[in-house]
Structures are given as C-alpha cells and as structure tokens.
Amino acid sequence: MTTLPPPTGGSPADTAEVAAAARPTTQAPHGGRRSAGPGQLSDIWRRYRRNRLALLGLGIVGLLVFLAIFEPFITPFSPFEQNLLNTTAPPSARHWFGTDVLGRDMFSAIIYGAKLAVIVGLATVAMSLLIGVVFGAIAGFRGGAVDSVIMRTTDVFLAFPLLVGAILVVRTFGAGVTPVIIALALFGWTTSARLMRGQTLALRESEYVEAARSIGATDRRIISRHILPNAIAPVLVYAFTNIGVVVVAMASLSFLGIGVPADIPEWGRLISQSAPFFQVPGKSHLWAFPALAICVTTLGFAFVADGLRDALDPKLRGRG
C-alpha cells in the first residue's frame, strides 16, 4: 500500500463534539441503528447461533413443539386405536415404527408421547420456576427468619424421595397428567429457589439496588425491576436444562405405573409394556423407539440450555 487512505473522522465539528460530550467507546454494533441492550433478543440470538449444538437442540425442540401442536394431523393412525390381531409387528411401510403390544401404531404413539412430554415438561418447569423464583427472591431479599423458614422448607423437599412424594400426590389426586405435573413441580422448585436466592442475595447488595433505594424505590419495585431482570438468566437456564430431567422423571413414573393412566401412550408406559419382550429377538422396536425419543428430547433441551447459558452469560458478552 503506497497511498494513505483519506482520513476518517477528526473534522473540526467532530473534535468539537468530542470535546463537549465525548463519545461512547463501544459504537453500536449495527452502524447507526438504535443500540441493542444486553438483554435484547437480537443480541442474544447473535451469540446463540454461534453454537452449532445449540442450533441442533433448537431444531429438536422446534420439532417437538411442532409435533405437540399438530399431533392430530400428523399421526397416521389414532394413537389409542388398538388392533389385537396385529400386535408387536416390526416396522413396515404401513407402520413405520411397527405396532405395540396392543397393536397400536407405534409411530402415532411416539408422536402422541411427544405431545405429552412437551406439555408436562413445560408446565412442570413453568410451575416450579414460578414457585422457586417467588420464594427464592423473598428469601434472599428479606433474609433473617423468613429466609430460614423458606430454605429449611426447600431442604425438606430436597430430602424427600421423589417417588414416594409422587405416589402420595397421585394417591391424593388420582392418576392423570395433571397430578404428574403437580408431583414433579412440587419436588422440582427447590433448586430454582436456591439459585434465585443466591442471585438475590448478591444483587441486593449491589450499587444499583442501593441507587434505586436512594431515589425512593419501594422493596417491591426493587425486586421486580432491579433484581429480577438481572437474576433470572441462570435460573431460566437451569429450568431449561431441567425440562429433559422432567421428561425422564415422567417416563420413570409411568414405567413404575405411578404416572399417567395405563391406556395413554406415554413413552415410559410404552417401554414398561414392552418389558416382557426385552430379551425377545426381533421385538426391540417396542422399547428402542420410545427410549430413543426420550434420549433425543433430553439432549435437545440440554443443548438449548447450554446455548442459552452461553448467550445469556454477561461474562461472555465481550466475545465479539
């Protein structure tokens, strides 16, 4: 390069403006457009999509949600329709995943199971998130006796075996999807609460919370506008990771016969039904497809959670 490029910036007007006010060191990333905040979706998405696995996870979750919504239109057969003349048939052109011990179309059953998994997973996590965030925030912000009572309560729930608790809940409310959600949420909120409490404890002492107090903010406002938006990210990430766990837990409950009623084609149920065939050659489609569905679902949510954690983590924000 022999010639210098023409000088940019540094015109007298520019210099004067700098003198008067000074510019931000970090220019807005998208030229002159309105700047993006740390929590803005475009910014999060930009960081999220750099993670290939997270994109794969997003694809899986997207597919699951699609299946859950359009289940009645996708399933080639009714997932409940039994055909006792054609049980445990291997995969074929007509029955892609074969048929189960009751002669139901496995492909339709798996899709119906996906709908259940999504509904139960999201509902459970939403409920435990709500309980956990509220109690965690109160415990962390109030401290003292309130904190002690809430945290000892979480200890009790943590120490209580999930299965025994689930049996109690199902016995109380009867079998069905809702009792399963209640049972899983009841024993799943504690970690969210602990995370939220830790975040709140740290943020309560932060200078911007003190600043909010100095301009007369009430406790409620400090929690909702200053602590919650800054504390929620790790709790959300945890909740997302937990969806996979919830799906597995629901399947386990069903496998043990505690969860959803026997006639509903839930993945755990499907595996449970195939138990007599575990050793039988040529019948592995009975348990392999539901197991695979559980695996893929768990992994999908885990990948999404992993990507979200990186995308939301303010410490990684500097990386481009």
Partner: protein, 708 residues
C-alpha cells in the same frame, strides 16, 4: 478498518533509539520495537505497537499511561505471561544483557521468570495462593530456581520477610495469606519477587490497591531495596505523583505506543508531547490552592481496536492540525543528541503552552458563609455492625465500630470532604446520613427536618432532597435499563413533572448528548456512565448530594472532566456536597471544608486551606505527607512521615486515642503523656481562635508537610 494500520512505519522509532543507544554497552534490559497484537472477533487489538525502552542497574524506569494504553501488556510480554493465542507478536525483541528472550524455548524462559526478572502484581490478594503458607510460597520460589534444602529455603524466606519489614517474620511465615493485611501481603509479594536476587523487578501498579500511607511505606521499601541490591525497577503506573518522586526516567504511553520519554525532570518541567502536557495540566494538585478550573483532556482514550489514524491522540489534542490526522509521528529528540524523545508534530507549541503562565488561580480562600444555618447537621452519629456467632441462635459477640460518634455541619452551597483511608468508616458514615443504612445512634437533620426520625414513607419522599453519586460507575447503573429508564424512574418514584424535554435537558446539563437516552449503560465509557449517575442524582434539584468517591474509578484524564462538571453544577444549582474521598489532591481542589476520619471518628475538621497549610493532627500530617505531588522538584524537598503498621481492627479499636498505635508523635512523648493517650480519648476541640478549626489530639501542633 483493520487494514489501514498497515501503513504504520515499523522501523523508524527503533532507529532513533539505536542512534542514541548503540554506542554504549548493552543495557541490562532492553525492549526493541515490541509489538503485541490480539486477534479478536472485533478486529485486531494492537495492545503494544512498536515500543522501545531500556533500563539499567539501579535505575527506575516508569511507564506511565491510562488504562488500555498497553503498559501492562508490554511488561507481561517480557515475562512470557501473555497467552498466545490470542496474542501474536508480529515484531520486536526483548534483550536481557543482549540475550533475546522472546524466541527462547519455554523451558529456558521459565528459568528466567522469578529468577533474573521478577514481577510484583497490582493485586496482592489474588497473587498469593490462599491455601499455602506465605513462608512456604516464598521457599517454593527459591527452590524452583536453586538447589537448596527445604529447611534452608524456609530460613531464607523468613529472612526475606524480615528484610521487607514484616514484624515477627518467623511467626508470619507460618501464616496463610488471609491472615495478612493488604500492605503486608504486598510486602510478602515483594519478598517473593526478591527471593532469587533478580536483576530486574517489574512492578505493575504495585501500590494502586493500597492506601496512601501504606503506599508510602511500600515505595520507601522498594527504594531501599533497590539501593542495597542495585536492582533495575520498571514501575508501571497511572499515578503521575508516584512517578515524580520515584522514577529516574519516564516513558509515557498512549494507545500502544510511547509518545514521550525522558528523565523525570524533562517530562515534568518541559513536556514536549501534547498528551503529556494535557495529563499534567489536568491533575489536581494538593500543593496548589484551587485554580479556577482544571484543564481536562477532552474525550477519552481510544479503544485499541479502533485507534485513530495518524497521531492516535489527535482527536483529543488542542494543537492537532490536518497533518496529525495522516502522519504517524515518530519519536524524535527534543534537542539534537538528547535522550528526551517525543512523538509530537507540534512540540514547539506544546512547549510554549506549558511555559505560558496558567490562568491566575481564583482567590484561595474557601467560600465560607458563617451565620447561614447549615443544610445538613449531623450529631453524634454512630453505626455499629453487630458480629453474630452461633449456628441456630445467633448471639451478638461484638460490633464493628464503623462510625463511632461524628458531628458535622455543612453550609448551603459548599462542599465538605470526608477523607480517610479504606476502612475508616467514611462511606458508612455517608450511607448512614442518607439512611441507606440505619444509624445505631445520633441524629441527622436536613434543613429543618429530622431525617433519623422519619417513618418509611416520609423518608422515601424526603429522598428528593438528599441524593448520592456512587463510586463505581460500572456497578451503580442497572445494566438492563436504558439511560432514559434509569432517569425516568426517579420522576416516577418521587413525582415531579416529566415532559418530553426533561430527559434530553438533563443529559445536556451533565454534558451528554440527548441522543444517548436510549442506550444501555454498557455502551458507555466509565466517565460517561458517571455523568449518567450524576444526572440521576441532580434530577429534581436535591438540596444535598453525597459524592462517594465519584472519580476514583476513572482515568486521570477523565477525572478532571467530572470534577469540573461537579463544580459547574454546584455553582449553577447551589448544590451542597458531602464529598467522600481518599485522594487528598482531589479533596484540596474541590472542598470548602475538610474532615479527616480515622477508625470511625473525626480527628480533624477545618476549612480547606487551614487543613492543608496548617494541619494540627499527627494523622492528618502523615496523610498529607504521604501523598505524592506530581512535581519532582517539590517531591525532593519534602519531608515524608512514614507511618508504621496498618489500621487496627475496627471491632477492637485501641483504648484512648485510636490513632496512638501508629502515631509518630506518640513515640516522642514522655511516659505520663503517653499514658494520657492510652487512657483518655481526645475530644474534637477548637484548635485556634477562629472557631472553625477543630482537632482531636491531646498534643496537637502544627507541622509543615505540604512543601519542603
């Protein structure tokens, strides 16, 4: 934009040094045209871009620069501590007695580290390993480089701890880092750095994390050690005052390059680069009465990934011409044959500007309006933090006496500064006055209202009249709210008319462009964030504002901008300030009255000039004498009172006078007088007839410590 940097002349800077330094014998440590670049997704960051310097035995070279000027990276590179990738080294050499270090195999580099060259880091808290005993860590350092037995190494470690002035070295060597105070840790770090008699000591901001009285101890120690061992010291710092008293030669860095280098006298008395000149004239000086205004450097240091073309300083330079925007100036001698080099095209104009008399200082007397009822009256304010113990039923087993009975009045439109070292309770006092923390005892009156007696809702409304600006502009703004939301919140909470123009007007008042309203805090620099914090505080015209170290987290060139803004706002809106600070130079500049705090109590309270020119309390005197003044001539003639030890534990303060354990005067007293200090706590009594100078010392007396 990254490609434009290819036009930088690469070798010319080196030529100049080669011409002047080539004839001598090889210097102890020489850096030649060093370049350290970082490849980031945002572009190439040229942290160090063609830097050359050298240092000889027994010499102290100071590398001065603001944050992001590349001063630390250049030192870390010498020790091979810069990870690569992301760093790349496109050019340059580091020569230790002629041996090139950068192309040495890693194993040999490791042998040099801590042996021939060692480093002292800024933060002694993180540089020591918390799970090993201090003595063992030093012994370990010795044993990595020498074949010495464990016991012998430990003995040597104890000797070293003694040499760096740690009392009871044998006991201390067996303690863990958390049992050491900050100053003691830094001493231990120095002991470790000296363990193998290095020829070169790299000190990266060695005292920045420490209080001034401790800083004075550490710098004295380094000088003594240098004298006895003939070590070369490379002192990396942003503090020009420190440089003036301790450096032989200075290299000023800006945006990855050295812009000026010369002896200490040359840099301070005859700067030739516009940036050096700007730094010197933006500094508040403790030995000057308040001038009309500081002269800040406008703007802020450039991001190293977006260094302006031509002279990197030109967008902020008052002398810049068209030439400066295209041509990268090279280092040239200020006089033929001189070692005083500068890279400024307008050195003659800088020289003229520097020697021109500064605009006359305003009358040095403080604005004192006696007879006017004070805006703020604090009486007997106490804040104790209980120390609780026990697992289930917590018992109170003691109290940290953070603030232990202070009285203050602030007259309307004036600034009272509360100064003291960390842990003296000044920030707690401010927060307790605002009732951000509940006082244990005492009363605070704001105008005619008793703040301490207010109920919750009443207090919330009263916040309109009492506001605070926080120290850390990075922590005091909610990262998820835009500037507009941050400012609007106050109007929502406290009432007050909010029109379309309110926020833009407010931003312009604090020197920010109105179009910044919809940006988030992370898009601003520290100085700009602090302006937002100030805007939040002055919205709705409060009567009284606490400024809690508002400039201590900012770069030198930005500090002056903020101080000027605060002064302008005070004049315009008649604000009353309580200024919390540890930096006495800034305090001298901005205050009308000054209160000096030590361990929860006020030891001296006086009008500003009275306090600085005629300090009465031995602690005030020590504090003033410990603050370095950015003028080598003044520094050389000054007397320094070096205090021993650290501030005692506020949960268990000494009996009687709290300062007596570190007091230089106490040592000179007769036994009965000493007994008085031990048993009787001195009251804050009038020191002279004026009725405005109070001091809490049984044996108060004037001592001149500001000048020689």
């Amino acid at each position: 934009m990254a490609d434009t940097a290819g036009t930088t002349p690469t070798s010319r800077g080196e030529d100049v040094l080669g011409a002047s330094g080539g004839s001598r014998t090889a210097p102890l440590l020489e850096v030649r045209d060093l370049r350290v670049h970082f490849d980031t997704p945002a572009g190439t960051v040229k942290a160090v871009d063609g830097v050359s310097w050298q240092v000889d035995e027994g010499e102290t070279l100071a590398i001065v620069g603001e944050s992001g000027s590349g001063k630390s990276v250049s030192a870390m590179t010498i020790l091979g501590l810069v990870p690569s990738p992301p760093a790349v080294f496109p050019g340059g050499q580091v020569l230790l007695r002629g041996r090139s270090l950068l192309d040495m195999p890693e194993a040999r580099q490791r042998k040099l580290r801590g042996n021939e060259i060692s480093m002292i880091f800024q933060d002694p808290l993180t540089a020591l390993n918390p799970v090993f005993k201090v003595g063992e860590q030093i012994a370990e350092m010795i044993r990595t480089h020498r074949k010495v037995g464990k016991a012998a190494a430990l003995r040597k470690a104890v000797d070293l701890l003694g040499e760096v002035g740690i009392p009871n070295p044998r006991v201390r060597a067996a303690q863990y880092p958390h049992e050491f105070s900050g100053g003691m840790r830094q001493r231990a770090m120095i002991a470790m750095a000296l363990a193998n008699d290095p020829q070169v000591l790299l000190a990266d901001e060695p005292t920045t994390a420490l209080d001034v009285t401790v800083q004075a101890q550490i710098m004295q120690l380094l000088e003594d050690l240098q004298a006895s061992r003939n070590t070369a010291i490379v002192l990396i710092t942003h503090d020009l005052g420190l440089v003036a008293s301790h450096a032989d030669r200075i290299a000023v860095m800006y945006a990855g390059r050295i812009v000026e280098t010369g002896t200490c006298e040359e840099i301070f008395t005859a700067p030739r680069h516009s940036y050096t000149h700007g730094l010197l004239s933006s500094l508040a000086r403790m030995d000057h009465a308040r001038p009309e205004k500081l002269e800040p450097i406008p703007g802020q240091p450039p991001s190293l990934s977006r260094v302006p073309q031509g002279c990197a300083f030109h967008p902020r330079c008052q002398f810049a011409t068209a030439e400066c925007t295209t041509e990268v100036p090279i280092l040239v001698p200020s006089r033929p044959g001189s070692d005083h080099l500068h890279a400024c095209l307008h050195s003659d104009r800088v020289a003229a500007a520097h020697s021109a008399p500064r605009p006359p200082a305003a009358v040095a007397t403080a604005r004192v309006e006696t007879g006017v009822p004070p805006v703020l009256e604090v009486e007997g304010l106490v804040k104790h933090f209980p120390i609780r113990s026990g697992l289930l039923f917590k018992r109170t087993i003691g109290a940290v006496q953070a603030v232990d009975g202070i009285d203050l009045d602030i007259e309307p439109g004036t600034t009272l500064s509360l100064v003291g070292e960390s842990g003296c309770g000044k920030s707690t006092a401010a927060r307790t006055i605002l009732r951000l923390q509940e006082p244990t005892a005492g009363s605070v009156r704001l105008g005619s209202r008793d703040v301490t007696a207010m109920r919750k809702e009443e207090l919330r409304k009263a916040r309109e009249d009492m506001q605070i600006v926080f120290q850390d502009p990075y922590a005091s703004l909610n990262p998820r709210m835009t500037v507009r939301q941050i400012l609007t919140e106050k109007y929502e909470l406290l009432g007050g008319e909010l029109t379309e123009d309110t926020i833009p007007d407010l931003l312009e008042t604090v020197g920010l462009s109105a179009e910044y309203a919809d940006r988030y805090p992370h898009e601003f620099s520290g100085g700009q964030r602090q302006r937002v914090g100030i805007a939040r505080a002055i919205a709705l015209n409060p009567r009284f504002v606490v400024l809690d170290e508002p400039v201590s987290a900012l770069d030198v060139s930005i500090q002056a901008q903020i101080l000027n803004l605060l002064e302008d706002l005070q004049r315009e809106f008649g604000l009353t300030y309580l200024f919390i600070a540890h930096d006495l130079s800034v305090v001298r500049h901005i205050s009308d009255r000054v209160a000096v705090m030590y361990l929860g109590g006020i030891v001296e309270l006086a009008d500003r000039d009275d306090l600085f020119e005629r300090p009465q309390h031995p602690y005030t005197q020590a504090l003033i004498s410990a603050v370095p003044i950015p003028d080598p001539a003044v520094e050389r003639s000054r007397e320094r009172i070096v205090l021993t030890g650290d501030v005692p534990n506020p949960a268990d303060p000494p009996s009687g006078c709290r300062f007596r354990t570190r007091c230089w005067k106490h040592l000179e007293l007769s036994d009965p007088d000493k007994q008085r200090c031990i048993t009787e706590r001195p009251a804050l009594d009038l020191a002279d007839g004026s009725g405005r100078h109070r001091v809490a010392c049984h044996f108060a007396g004037e001592r001149q410590v500001l000048r020689g």
